[in-house]
């Protein structure tokens, strides 16, 4: 909350600055220029704001929260937003038929990315809905001791990859259903529902450079996995999710999956290199930096670092030119340290100093270098101000201090 209020104040201060700034940007970066966000709250008759020139916006390093649309995805979606606007469930005219064809093509694209049959893909409004469909009622299925294992494929906070194939093998041998939330993993690491013995999988559009508001749930047919519908109505999507399927959105999801399949190797190689660069450059310039999460079983694009003796929120505010996050967006309103970090045994004070850096398909080397430079600069500055840091420099062991109450 504090962060957003401060940001808004800063943004207002910039727009009110008098005199146009000289254009000449030297680096390709910092010119997150021209804030085009609609200013709906600005009344027309307030005192005229002098023409201030372009407003700077931060560069984007928060791909785990959401990703920009890939231009190829938008290109695929546009016809269905403009001309081909039929309801895919209309059976009686060409508008319906072409919309349905597009929906089925998208279904095939999603299925192909995860090694599934298209009949096993149900479109939803996102991974959250998919999770709910998959988990609901399955635990209370036929036998009282039937259970379900649900695991994230790649964690969204620290980027750790779970041993999915192993878990799948164990579940399959014990006849237990296996669900995985693959929102951060689909299209980024190879997934095959048959090799990994996955029964249910949640997929999110906006984590893989597709549109927001759409996702899919994979539901195995052989052996049949029964789920109960969350949303009842006209019986669309094999009765498992009623409601008109939003053709433009699912076309976007399908296109995103197809692009991901083509680009997976290239993206992975590039992102790994950039991640290596970020981590090495930060760690060689700053002491007492810890990377959270198993370094071996790790998706490179999600880097969670703890900077000792620096408070995470204050570092985020200092790095105002870079869009970052500490902890996951799902729990952003609370001040609790991340449950994930707590679960891996991170000290409470280190958990409060964690920042998540997201590197994606569109991240440039320039952006990484800029982020590293600013991060080093501000961590050093914040540490200079920290009495704890001063004590550590003097050789005091912080764990031995007895803090008094007063």
């Amino acid at each position: 909350m504090l962060l957003r209020a401060a940001w808004r104040r800063a943004a207002v201060a910039v727009t009110a600055a008098t005199g146009p700034k000289a254009a000449a940007p030297t680096r390709g970066l910092r010119l997150r220029v021209r804030d085009l966000a609609p200013q709906s709250a600005v009344p027309a008759d307030t005192a005229a704001v002098p023409e201030a020139g372009p407003v700077l916006r931060p560069l984007y390093m928060d791909v785990q929260a959401t990703t920009p649309l890939d231009p190829r995805v938008l290109d695929a979606m546009l016809p269905y937003l403009v001309n081909y606007y039929g309801n895919p469930h209309s059976r009686t005219h060409a508008y319906g038929w072409e919309s349905e064809a597009a929906m089925e093509r998208a279904r095939q694209q999603v299925a192909s990315l995860i090694g599934a049959d298209p009949r096993e893909i149900i479109f939803t409004s996102g991974a959250t809905e998919s999770n709910n469909i998959a988990i609901k009622e399955l635990e209370a299925a036929i036998q009282p001791d039937t259970s379900l294992v649900s695991v994230m494929t790649v964690n969204n906070e620290i980027g750790v990859k779970q041993p999915i194939a192993e878990i799948g093998r164990i579940c399959s041998s014990r006849k237990v259903y296996f669900h995985t939330d693959a929102a951060q993993a689909v299209g980024k690491i190879p997934l095959d529902v048959n090799d990994m013995k996955i029964d249910l999988m949640s997929i999110s559009g906006h984590k893989i450079y597709g549109p927001k508001g759409v996702g899919a749930v994979y539901i195995r047919r052989r052996p049949r996995v029964r789920v109960e519908a969350l949303q009842s109505g006209g019986g669309q999507e094999r009765g498992m999710r009623s409601g008109t399927v939003p053709t433009p959105l699912v076309v976007g999801l399908g296109a995103a999956c197809e692009v991901a399949q083509q680009e997976m190797e290239y993206d992975h190689k590039r992102i790994s290199k950039l991640a290596e660069r970020l981590i090495q450059n930060i760690m060689k310039s700053l002491p007492d930096v810890v990377m959270n999460g198993d370094p071996e079983h790790h998706y490179p694009g999600c880097i969670n670092l703890s900077f000792a003796y620096v408070e995470g929120e204050s570092l985020l505010m200092a790095l105002k030119d870079v869009a970052l996050s500490s902890g996951s967006a799902c729990t952003s309103a609370s001040l609790e340290p991340s449950y994930v970090l707590r679960a891996i045994g991170t000290d409470e004070d280190l958990a409060h100093s964690s920042i998540r850096f997201g590197i994606g398909r569109f991240t440039t080397e320039e952006e990484v270098d800029y982020t590293v430079e600013k991060c080093i600069q501000h961590v050093k500055r914040l540490r200079e101000m920290s009495p704890l840091w001063e004590m550590v420099q003097d050789g005091i062991d912080l764990k031995s201090i007895k803090w008094t109450q007063h």
Binding site: V49, E51, P54, T364
Partner: protein
């Protein structure tokens, strides 16, 4: 159709790079230029004419996508928000 010649491939490469540099969004622009360079470089030793033609056809489709998106995004970027005191000026370097 005769397989594409070296000259045609190079023309296509140049056209794609030229078009990509017109993306107003920094991240799209840099991605397109980088991906095109890496893509053409990766395939520079392909000899099979059928494979070459497949790659060329895909590149042509991608060129179409780039053209459409550059045009689409420049009109969207030019769209004014509430306040009328904003001028258009230079194209922005990122897509908001």
């Amino acid at each position: 159709m005769a397989a594409s010649s070296r000259a045609q491939v190079l023309d296509l490469y140049r056209a794609m790079l030229r078009e990509s540099k017109r993306f107003s969004a920094y991240n799209y622009r840099t991605y397109a230029v980088r991906r095109i360079r890496d893509g053409f470089r990766e395939n520079k030793n392909v000899k099979d004419p059928v494979e070459i033609q497949t790659l060329v056809n895909k590149a042509k489709r991608d060129l179409g996508i780039i053209r459409r998106q550059v045009a689409e995004q420049s009109t969207a970027a030019g769209r004014k928000s509430g306040s009328s005191s904003r001028s258009l000026g230079k194209p922005c370097t990122t897509w908001p």
